[in-house]
Symmetry: D2
Subunit: 449 residues, 4 copies
């Protein structure tokens, strides 16, 4: 398979060798000593050279050197409690700007300056993003690492500010070193190889990503768009490598069918909402005829939620037939049975509409994708039956998908309604479907638009 | 003059109109209201658009709107003392990572997030750097502005990290929009116009600058280098637009004759030491024969110091002749008198050598340029008489200049000696000169190298 | 003056040293020997290296080595008459494709292959263009050089095909090495320095040039455009470095006020007509509101023609007053006399209208600028009085200028009418003016549009 | 397979639809009418637009419209015999430069100007190169097309002059649109997909190509190089996608293992010799330790020649055993038989050495690859047994491969010896092998170096 060498490289990077624990700890300690030097006066003059050396020592750590290394980052580079207390006492006495600044300095961990200095080495930014990736992967087992995580996150929020990112079109003219990342990272609808990728970058598609100048070969996030003359109701035609090309000059719809955050090391630093709007803007410049911007999105939590609601559905004024019908969906084979498909359609559509618009958790929709797009100011436009008949699609959402629509003129007011009043904006059709669900006796606060 | 339109643009930018104080304050208040909106939930979804609007309101402020605007930044976006106290109390009770992070969050002014969001607007970075430029210009009259200054400086130290800067060669292929900045910014030896500039970018010269991706047309700092076959002992030949070109293939010396920090808004964020070393590295790749890297530097504090020492010189075992000779130097005309020049030479050289190596303030040399280069690990190599015979050169340093030498192999140990033990590294010749000065009875701690 | 160093460079290039004639001839002969080697088998394998050496020898020739060098190019690298005759005889016998190809090969001078091989050296293209520049400058004294000229021209027509040229916008982001060429080359309205240039590249102007990939720092031709809200009737405001900037968002006119062919070595290879149309196209993309594309052009031959027509004007039914009025225009001072200006206005306008529309030479207008624009499909739209009050403008055209208008829809039919039927397309107003001239008794074939 | 979509695109381009012959001819005639218009006066003013239209008509031709189109190019755009005769008569009368130029103009087919004008359309250059590709494919069946072929070749020799080509490194940072061409074009050792390609572009390899500015996505020729610490004796390790990477810092050999001309439309316009030398130069700059530049080349004509020589070998003083041994090689299975391999080794090596050094055709070696490299000034350094054990390698050359060595200091003299005296330069070892062959009674003129 054509991506194997990249993946094997990836694996090699991810899985460094393993030493004896003692040797690993000793190496971690040596790397940390370089960190101390880098923070000292010597680091000021020999900054770049010493940063390079420190980075080299870190990257040469055996796999089991990572834990002792991060542990030492926790213990050795945290702020001194005594200094904090002194600074706070002075501030409480006299809350002047100078005392506040002194307090801020006292609470800032030396780690932050350490990371800023490591960043001077070539490849420093990439290494720090990778450090956080590994850290968050294992943080559950090492609760005290949150202080290191907080420092990195604080830096990254500063460094990866939208003002420093470049929106770039990705197509067949893009270097292979970037394209192979798409294949490796695509999280929503797997890219099976270069042929598949080539189709997704053809003339009736657009792909855009955000890039940071210090990581020129690494998309931070990318989005895949299909240019069509109708709202896409099913994902299969969009993923078919042999689908005929549509002439984009006739396009009036742009369908966002996949959006992937690439860097786990940047978790929590969101670019997605900015990307969608900027891409919509770019597309409307290139294709003035395109007026409809919508996603074709998965509904990842539907089936799980449905299971959790079995009791309430049973308690609802639903016939026994409803219950027995619903039992079929746990076996994906139902989708091949035409009769079952027809009988389940109204039931699944109404329950899913209810799920998206009324199933809440702390005021917000249960479904994570719904939260993302509604929070961005989109509206729920249309539910699609048999839209993703892959095994995964059937298991997660009974094959249903949804179009979230971005009407540029309404985005801000939709967002306000959602953010301040938890209002979910949905089309008339979707609201009507929700009302027909067996659970619709509950009050809903969906807004008709 | 060819730069007038640029300068008039500059003036236009620097001097916005003036409103009535009331109107100016009202406009400042409106701009700050947009800042509040930008920090609110609305700012999250409409980030870039709102940032653009906020920036526009700030940039449209009349000249006298700046003060009320910054005052409001101080009052409205500082952290809440009560929240700080609560967070500190929790931390004192239990100094856990989580409590420390909460305390860090409590002391961080919302201004920092405000500035990060403004940075999302096109031109945001440039506007924030310019904001700090104006702020530091007037900070002496507004002591409480130090909190805003501290926030901007904290952000800039993160954003303008060496890891994000690009070293770029500047030559006649560089866009005019960058070149005109050299003319405007050059602080050491004024560039009188495009013709002068062209000579400084000719084949026997090199010019390099650091650039940040968000400010592509703005050098942050630049350095001018002459490639020669000897150590330069006088600045005039280097500044002469009609000087014949030297064939760089025969060069074995690189003379750094001017280094200029361009952005007052980045004051305190130093790039200079990194630049010199990296440029030396680049030059040694392009010209393997070049082994000598030295500056030809001004001695800006010499005459002033000399005046302040008059009493001590008189007290020293100096003849009356010495004192009467020295009196001549306050009138630049002395430099045209061959006899005077000859008689003053040994005296001025020895006093200047003493000044550079022994005149200290808090352990470090009085002379700011000496502090900079010695702090970088350079050594004082040679003093040059009649090296800068411009009026300014005569008034500041009696026409003397100095070569600081960068021996790449010694830079780190020199720096260590200087940073840890305040040792000033100087050549044998310079040390000998210093010992011959009328003031040399004092102990000195100059290290022979 | 800021361009002096460039000009002195230019002079240095143009005026190489002078040797004794004997030495110069010997050096020319050596250079030609390298040319022979380059054409031999050895040239095939060592192509690039030998081409470099040959070029070096040519460029090192003393000034008086040029003539013997070109003379040897004529004698040594022309086709052999005997071979031509043989090839022709075979072709006459049997005009087959093979015999025709053989004849073509026989008549092609080996010089062409020589020039193609020289072109392999770095800088080869530039050197060959410069060779032709010098050659055409002196060709009148060396009629036999037309064979070398024909070969170079044949090659350049192939190499500088429009398909290989890039249209590039020139502005303040353009490298200084290109901008200084604008100052040096501008032929229509001198650019007095960098400040003047900066104004011509400001926000309400556009400048475009054609570039060839092998001459990246050399515009082949460039055009200067002003974006306005009216048709420009006078050149002075466009050339004033201190003129206020117009907001291009409100522009509905694009005025082409200067077009300059830069390379005398490419004489006869026209790009101008292509450039105007492509620039009009680019501007209509950037500024959809711009509907009017017109020049503000000089009328270089008007006064000269007027002098030549004095007899006919006297013979025409013109009053004596006419004749005495006209006598004033040979002294530019008339333009300062308000009364004279008013009295001359109708007379000059009508005569100039007649000149542009009716004064022909071999069927085409006498005025070279008129021939260029009419041949491109433009129409004569408007005559402007007191439009160029510079001394040169008054002496060449009594201060008159003309707007040629490019209506994109009519360009092709206008051109056809002009090319096939010699019809001059002019506006109603201009035709009316022409009819009022003292000479208008002659028939005219101006077409009203 | 990952390249299928590219190949299907290719096929789509190569196989346009088929019309009825009458319709195809009518369309060809229409396209040719546009060609006439393009050459007329109208073409001068509307050049680019009309060129675009003409190109569009040509590209829309059905598959069977190609022949009538080219036939019309032959008949309609050839020079007029009468005009040639008149021009020749004038020239014979007076062979002046002017008459020669007139004769040159008379014999130049209007087709050349037609092609130059078509080249003004976007994509024109690519279309003309493709036109010649199709033309040479079918020229054997249409002998009169040689006149069109000669015109295109004449233009291409001018346009694709080395001085206009850019040498570019090709690696994993190269756009996919270029990389897929490598997969499609590689002629020597097939690239099986993106994974294979990735290995060939890894850190211990280099790949370079020549590009023309008008065909930025199309390599004209490319060469693949392996950096090693020994001379490669076998191709398999170089083609193995899973071969471990060698650290190029330790390389002292550069092995050119594949060189591919990509454009059949540029047949006869050679870049290969220039490419090898320039790549050797680039590599010696990047890796000063690399002193050995050699190919690992196929010997495509060996077995075929061997068959043709059977009679002579039998006649030579060879034992019957020789003959019976040789019979085995026509079945590739022999290579798996250890005993056979050992017994055939001396025989095959000596015969192949003889083949490369002594088997001549018109004075030059029979083997086309040998002709290419010897003509470039390389020497035959070493023969390798079992060097290409692929089926194709066994069938063409009994698994043998050869290293041609490029000693930069000797390249020119080697070439001279070869070009002028047909001398084949080979190492002592190879000459010795040749002398041991059963055929070595013939005189040989191999030069020892």
């Amino acid at each position: 398979m054509s991506t194997s060498s990249f993946l094997s490289q990836l694996l090699r990077r991810v899985i460094p060798p393993i030493d004896s624990d003692r040797s690993a700890e000793r190496k971690a300690r040596s790397a940390v000593e370089l960190c101390h030097a880098l923070l000292s006066a010597r680091g000021e003059v020999s900054g770049a050279a010493l940063a390079r050396e420190t980075l080299g020592a870190y990257e040469a750590l055996p796999q089991n050197g990572f834990k002792p290394f991060v542990d030492l980052l926790c213990t050795d580079f945290s702020p001194e409690p005594a200094r904090i207390t002194t600074a706070f006492d002075a501030y409480r006495e006299d809350p002047s700007p100078a005392h506040l600044i002194a307090l801020q300095n006292a609470v800032e961990p030396p780690r932050q300056e350490l990371f800023r200095r490591i960043n001077m080495a070539p490849g420093g930014t990439a290494a720090l993003v990778d450090l956080r990736r590994r850290l968050v992967e294992e943080i559950d087992a090492h609760a005290h690492w949150i202080s290191v995580d907080a420092d990195l996150r604080h830096l990254f929020e500063s460094w990866f500010n939208r003002g420093f990112l470049r929106l770039e079109r990705i197509d067949w003219h893009t270097p292979a070193i970037v394209l192979e990342k798409l294949i490796a990272y695509e999280a929503v609808h797997e890219i099976t190889g270069w042929n598949d990728l080539h189709r997704r970058l053809a003339g009736d598609r657009r792909c855009f990503g955000f890039f940071h100048p210090a990581l020129p070969d690494e998309p931070l996030i990318f989005i895949e768009v299909a240019l069509t003359d109708h709202i896409s109701e099913s994902i299969q035609p969009l993923l078919d490598p042999d689908a005929p090309e549509f002439d984009p000059a006739h396009a009036n719809h742009a369908i966002f069918y996949s959006i992937t955050n690439c860097q786990n090391g940047l978790r929590g630093i969101s670019f997605g909402n900015l990307l969608i709007k900027q891409v919509a803007h770019e597309l409307s410049l290139e294709f003035p005829r395109i007026q409809n911007f919508a996603t074709l999105s998965p509904i990842p939590g539907f089936i799980e939620w449905l299971k959790s609601m079995e009791g309430e559905i049973a308690a609802a004024p639903a016939t026994e037939e409803t219950m027995s019908l619903l039992r079929h969906i746990h076996n994906p084979a139902w989708a091949a049975d035409h009769d079952l498909r027809a009988r389940l359609q109204p039931l699944l559509l109404s329950l899913c509409a209810y799920y998206l618009t009324d199933a809440k958790e702390g005021g917000d929709p249960v479904d994570p994708v719904a939260r993302f797009h509604l929070g961005n100011g989109a509206r729920i436009a249309q539910l699609n039956y048999m839209a993703d008949t892959s095994r995964r699609g059937l298991l997660r959402s009974a094959g249903l998908m949804v179009n979230y629509q971005y009407r540029l003129a309404d985005v801000e007011s939709n967002h306000q309604a959602y953010a301040l009043e938890h209002r979910v904006i949905a089309s008339h059709t979707v609201r009507k479907l929700a009302r027909e669900s067996p659970l619709s006796h509950t009050t809903n606060n969906v807004e008709r638009d």
